[in-house]
């Protein structure tokens, strides 16, 4: 398959292996499991998971909060290793990553489960499911993932849709397999992971997008059943690692869209990871358990964009809004568009060796 054909396929769901029948080792994944890498054994056949900050203490035959890790006789297992619940060839802009190989394809995979329980989850059929509930899941081992990405001309593998933290082992091994064949890896995550596993993972990643859902602990507790502080630590950790980082802020009407909240979030981002980290405001649609709220008004999205720009953020984008100009990458030096987009499509590229073609200002990102 050439690059053009691959791009044509972008955005088309390759339903869990159905469209990839020719890939090696795609078989029914029922019952597949592998020992988890980050956990402690406790007395009484219990275990304590050390992968995410929840640190679930899990009794024999029970699962952690994520629903995809199970204690069997005092040994902790991931039930989703190699169990691909969703598979698509997406434009990288869909993740969204706007400063990372723009216009390229991302071989996007997911497994069941999440360590949050976001009331507005857009992918809850996968993320809030237990592995056995996704009957369409297909076994696709890390080498198969890498081979699939290569075959479809994708420049990266994206671990996305659900929460890759909970399929950590699968992601790590796939990232290593990808690097062996020259395919990069991007993690699309809530950032709710403990520092040690994240530090072990980062060398094998090339970019990380983190959902910063709010700057309020209460929001994280009430609407995500999670915590803010560990997410902020992960954001700083990724930045310190030198790996490419972009942030998404889902704007939920009445819950995290006040001027004060948006300003506070922008202040934190600028102070801790800098003004040049791309910041995407994404529009909320009612879904899952949060259907009582309306979609975010366009005016609110525009207001958030302005607040972030006023706060000094250099690269601010708006997503899930049709016909917005705020998908273009604007050079902070001369104000001209270095990348013009329409939705996820690249219309014009005015970059030269990572600099603005008009004023030669460096534009941060991974461009090649």
């Amino acid at each position: 398959m050439d690059r053009r054909e691959a791009l044509r396929l972008m955005g088309c769901g390759l339903a869990a292996g159905a469209a990839l029948g020719a890939l090696p080792s795609c078989a029914n994944a029922a019952g597949y499991m592998s020992e988890a890498r980050y956990y402690d054994k406790l007395a009484g056949l219990k275990v304590r998971c050390q992968l995410c900050p929840k640190q679930c203490v899990v009794g024999d035959r029970e699962r952690g909060f994520c629903g995809v890790r199970e204690n069997r006789g005092g040994k902790y297992y991931t039930l989703v290793y190699g169990q691909c619940a969703a598979l698509n060839l997406d434009p990288i802009e869909k993740k969204p990553l706007f400063h990372f190989l723009p216009g390229s394809g991302a071989f996007s995979i997911a497994a069941a489960g999440c360590n949050f329980d976001c009331k507005d989850c857009q992918n809850w059929e996968i993320s809030q499911a237990r592995p056995e509930q996704i009957t369409s899941a297909t076994r696709m081992l890390p080498n198969d993932v890498a081979a699939g990405a290569k075959r479809y001309g994708a420049e990266s593998i994206a671990y996305t849709y659900s929460e890759p933290v909970v399929f950590y082992e699968y992601m790590l091994d796939s990232a290593q397999a990808g690097h062996r064949v020259g395919v990069r890896s991007v993690m699309i995550s809530n950032g709710y992971i403990r520092p040690d596993p994240m530090k072990a993972l980062l060398p094998h990643l090339d970019a990380v997008k983190i959902d910063l859902k709010s700057i309020s602990e209460k929001f994280y507790k009430d609407y995500c059943v999670g915590e803010l502080a560990p997410v902020l630590e992960t954001i700083k950790l990724v930045k310190r690692s030198g790996k490419w980082l972009e942030l998404v802020y889902l704007v939920v009407p009445t819950l995290n869209d006040s001027d004060a909240t948006v300003r506070e979030m922008c202040r934190w981002v600028r102070a801790n990871v800098g003004a040049e980290v791309p910041l995407h405001f994404s529009r909320f649609y009612p879904n899952y358990q949060l259907k009582k709220l309306p979609p975010t008004p366009y005016e609110t999205m525009e207001r958030c964009w302005k607040l972030a720009r006023e706060a000094g953020m250099s690269f601010v984008y708006v997503g899930n809004v049709p016909d917005t100009p705020h998908v273009n990458t604007i050079c902070p030096g001369c104000g001209k568009a270095v990348i013009k987009r329409s939705g996820y499509a690249i219309l014009e590229r005015n970059l030269r060796n990572g600099t603005c073609r008009f004023c030669a200002r460096r534009i941060p990102g991974v461009w090649e």
Binding site: L45, G59, R61, F65, W124, Q128, R130, V225, Y288, Q289
Partner: protein
Amino acid sequence: MTSRRRFLQIVAGAGAALGGCQPSSPNRSAMAPAANGQGAPTAPVRIPANRVAIAQDPAIVSAERIDAEAVDRLLGQALGRFAGTGDGDAVLRALFRPSDVVAIKANCLSGPPVSSHPELVAAVARRLTKSVGIAPDNILVYDRTAGELEAAGFGAQAADYRVIGTDQVGYDDEPTVSGQAGSCYSRVVSEMATAIINVPVLKDHDLAGLTGALKNHFGSIHNPNKMHTDHCCPYVADVNCAPHLRDKQRLIVYDALLVCYDGGPGYKPDTTLAQGAVMVAADPVAADAVAFDRLEKLRNHHGLPPIAGTERAPKYIEVAADAEHGLGVADLKRIEVC
């Protein structure tokens, strides 16, 4: 003074009213046809909603086997005590109609021997058929997966009921939000069944303190793993408040044939005792309150510290009884144990 809220009004062939639990299916006519379909009026059965009936004979459980006939007799005794008249079948005829599709929620997570016992479930099913006239095909024994059911002894070829794992029929397409819980419910309870009998197992639970009637319905939802935060409170109560359960559940038959009083919910041979007890109630909160009391007494008898007062105390029982949830009575002083 006896209030409507305090009493379960059971009229032959008619419905039950239990505090915040308002079964929606049966009609409430005092002259409703008898459950045998003959049209003969039957005297009303009047049972306090907060009654929990217990029948016990530890001798019927041995290490090798459980005496199925004895379990059936025990169930008859418990139902008879619950009725107050000794006529347990009248209770079943009052609560169920021949046209009902009855889902029996077994608890099979931990495998035998601390799952709902097939001997007890079969006894319940046979009585539904014999006393009420419900066809075995309309009695659905369910839990999360067919595999777990089979491992617990519920083979697909049972004569007295059908066995259905939710993995065979699926969960609702959309979640039902109830308090802080949002879950897709098993289609067995949301679509197939008109009535539910809950057959929990009396066990200690390392996070929730007790796993019994209320918590058994974590096996009726797609995301129980999301409900264990804060020691399952208020999630247990919230899950049970969803209409699929609140409106359809009519009877609790507590399996205390073997009781795991410490280290549950998994099977722990050293702390699992033959109790040979069956408890019958219509109020799941009262049933759990009594079950927890028995669990604490067992622990005390074996020199273990109480669960009450610790962080894993099953606070969800009281929450289920509060004004917001209204699922029953938690105060032991207000529960009639007979």
